[in-house]
């Protein structure tokens, strides 16, 4: 049962969705919606990378934005300093990923030995420190003012960029799904369920946690690179807590530990943000839309910890059990 059948219901739904998304720009000629969807894909990638940490390994990082920011800055600087062409763009993504991988390796090694409290705190502090460094290092980052740069000419067409991001999203999704279903991913889940027991089974849990944090960091950097291109602008706000919180919120609301959940969360949050900031023009209270998200988020943590996708999955499996259909045991977590 470990290998999902090529034509399982799940896969059929994914393919259908993909067809709709591919057809979308040709059917609907809406610039706003195309841009919004592109944004959703980018944050979907970021949120999925966060899910590897929170959902699959069970660790809370408050510093995820530093990897996102690292990707964004690498791409922006390379495109500006070298030349705005596709090879440089691809090169910058790779460089950004390598840098993010190195950074997350060291951060992980330093912090992942600690218990969840300390880890969350340290990642918060380290990313705070990097933010300050970025703000002070004006010769490179231009601080909070940021700088604009030219993207490769092909991306002037929003639809081309839309497809580029969509392709990245699909590839990342498939790779990460493979990753979490691999033996390595199983160990991560075991770490989440009971770290001590996993360790006593002979796994060096620190190694696995570091690997998880590297994977998450590298993917976050990719999302950052794409985000920079979509804006053709970077500033230090891309390294702030707000970015981490967006990823956190999407993951929690969508459903942790599902990979699909963060994507759903990304759709919900981005649409809500779009809608609420529209409302803010008439009702100033909505300028503080973070409050609404904060409250929804708190309620979700307490009453809805599985998120949208998690809750649906739980309902479905319950309903199936009540139907007395002889189902195989829920997938073994260990082994």
């Amino acid at each position: 049962m470990n290998q999902p059948a090529l034509l399982s219901k799940q896969n059929i739904i994914f393919v259908l969705l993909l067809v709709i998304l591919v057809a979308f720009p040709f059917v609907a000629d809406s610039r706003t919606l195309t841009i919004l969807l592109t944004q959703i894909f980018i944050f979907g990638i970021l949120a999925m990378s966060y899910d590897i940490l929170l959902g699959y390994t069970g660790i809370v990082s408050f510093g995820h934005a530093m990897f996102f920011g690292m990707g964004a800055y690498t791409t922006a600087i390379m495109l500006k300093e070298i030349q705005p062409t596709i090879p440089v763009f691809i090169g910058s993504i790779v460089v950004g990923m390598i840098l993010a991988g190195i950074l997350s390796f060291f951060v992980g090694l330093l912090t992942l030995r600690l218990k969840s409290h300390f880890f969350a705190m340290l990642t918060l502090a380290i990313s705070g420190l990097l933010l300050v460094v970025a703000e002070k290092w004006r010769s490179v980052t231009k601080g909070n003012d940021g700088f604009t740069f030219r993207a490769p000419d092909v991306f002037k067409d929003r639809i081309v960029f839309y497809f580029c991001v969509l392709a990245c999203l699909v590839i990342v999704f498939l790779l990460l799904r493979r990753f979490v279903n691999s033996p390595l991913g199983r160990v991560l889940i075991a770490v989440r369920e009971n770290e001590q027991r996993t360790r006593s089974l002979g796994f060096k849990t620190l190694h696995y946690k570091v690997i998880s944090s590297i994977v998450a960091g590298v993917i976050a950097s990719l999302a950052g690179s794409l985000y920079a291109i979509s804006l053709r602008f970077v500033n230090t706000s891309m390294m702030t807590m707000d970015i981490t919180l967006d990823a956190l919120l999407m993951t929690i609301i969508g459903g942790v530990g599902t990979l699909v959940g963060p994507l759903v969360g990304s759709v919900v949050i981005e649409f809500a943000q779009h809608y609420l900031s529209g409302l803010a023009r008439n009702y100033p209270i909505f300028e503080r839309w973070i409050i609404f998200f904060g409250i929804i988020y708190i309620l979700a943590v307490v009453f809805f910890p599985k998120g949208i996708v998690g809750s649906i999955l739980a309902k479905v499996s319950k309903w199936k059990q009540q139907d007395q259909v002889p189902l195989p045991e829920p997938k073994e977590r260990l082994k």
Binding site: H117, V132, I298, P305
Partner: protein, 290 residues
Amino acid sequence: MDLLISLVINGLATGMLIFLLAAGLTLIFGLMDVLNFAHGGLFVWGAYTGVFTYAYTESFLIGIVVAILTGILFGFIMEKLIITPVYGNHVQQILITLGFMLVLQEMIKVAFGPNAIPVSVPTYLAGSWEIGEVIVIKYRVFIIIVGFIIFGIFHYILTRTKIGLIVRAGVMNKEMVQALGINIKRVFLFVFMTGASLAALGGMLMAPYSGSIYAEMGMEFAILGFIVVVIGGMGSFSGSLLAAILVGLAGSFMAYYVPFLSLAVNMILMAIVLIFRPQGLFSMIRREST
């Protein structure tokens, strides 16, 4: 020499403000095993309610009282609404307290406006003394004195009263405290409200010291508070005073001599402590198990 003294006074004053924040954090962590990421929210709410009362009544003292009352009230609400439902689940705790921190921070902007608000030192604490060559700013000395008084009071409570004994015993072994017939949840609430009121007081005292208040200062100071808690040892009250002074002094000296490092020095201190002595420099709990 005069430079040295003013750097020391600077460092001590900053240290005391951090101490007021960290004292609650460390006790709440030690006793309840809860790292409250919303603690900075109490700090900033104390500052705003206190400052607005101060502006309205023109009495700094009433401002302080209102700040403390705000802390107690918010502490009560927070413990009941935010902490109790996720008690014992670390990941949920971290997520929910951080969420609440954001709500508190944004609520400040709704209630008091998004812009920084200037605050002046009350006339009787304004100005400075000149002792020989040295200029001593009165308000900083005031903060230091208040800090030591608070430390003295709480040190007395923790070591000489029954409730203090119970709190210290609870930090060491919660289960046993309950098995001796003590309702630990009430002790939790008491400690949480006390810690909240100290943070709120810290925020209020901070306001004239820095000259202005803004919504994000809660998070900024909370990070310093976390660093102090790690350095001092989770659950150690005296440890948090010593660590806060250390962090305050390090910050003040580095800002003068090695400005570039001043941002990083606390982080580096914390990293060193975490690598070589993760239980903290002055820890009271031996790290055996979770």
